[in-house]
Symmetry: C2
Subunit: 135 residues, 2 copies
Amino acid sequence: MQITRQTEYAVRTLLELAAAPVGETVSTRLISERQGIPDEFLKKTIQLLVPAHLVTTHRGTGGGVRLAKPATDITLLDIITAIEGTLALNVCLAPDYHCPNKPNCSLSRILGKAQEALLEELQRETLADMINSQK
Amino acid sequence: MQITRQTEYAVRTLLELAAAPVGETVSTRLISERQGIPDEFLKKTIQLLVPAHLVTTHRGTGGGVRLAKPATDITLLDIITAIEGTLALNVCLAPDYHCPNKPNCSLSRILGKAQEALLEELQRETLADMINSQK
DNA sequence: TTTATATTGGACTAATTTTATCCCATTTAT
DNA sequence: ATAAATGGGATAAAATTAGTCCAATATAAA
């Protein structure tokens, strides 16, 4: 019932990027050093953020990573989803899964409600809010 | 970010017990058959519910498991906690863990808030409510 | 055009957690 | 005694998570 370490890596990476001057790219090696993240693993992690449209990358000298959109438009839920896929508090709440008994199932009903409450909070605050609250 | 299968087993087990006539014991074998849970694994699961004071057990012929308290006094959170330990949305929110940087950490702050919202929902409804909503 | 810098991508390994099984001991009612 | 039931330790299998290695490709600058 926890976010994975990789998800935390992703959040810290995006916080680094959000803190950098707008439009400036940062190399994964620099991020990995500053955040103490294994650099090869960080590369994999960033490759999950690209298709989710949270960052863009540029190769070659002077290349690196930058936010794909304003920090005000990226929520914690966006990041978790990019790394872990759609959040589901139980198998039976996953998007594809369908259980014939679902309508009668009080577990899925309660967990569903709890999940809603969780999603709402995770969606409430953006990267920008997180940066500001650090100061 | 999901409850484990074992936790779901525990919930279904407690629902079985809550549905049974008050004070009556049910054998793990019967529960495992009705719920399709591997019986040896179910035993282990029940052994986690005992120290959490959710069920009591009795050995020997005619023995089995029963609720340790009224179904109105058992919440979904109680069950999750019994199986998985204290719920924490990230390592840094676990009871024992302490990070020197926590006061400045916006991730732990947001996750902490989200966790609160989740706990509240998980605590809101009891086994009794779950049984009633099935009817 | 060479060189250094950086991401891309695939294969692989290691570590950890989750799920399950086996088997024998102990308790209890009949 | 015997059958029915939980208790508990050891171990295995499966799945997920974390991390590593390396060759390929793109890019900027010298």
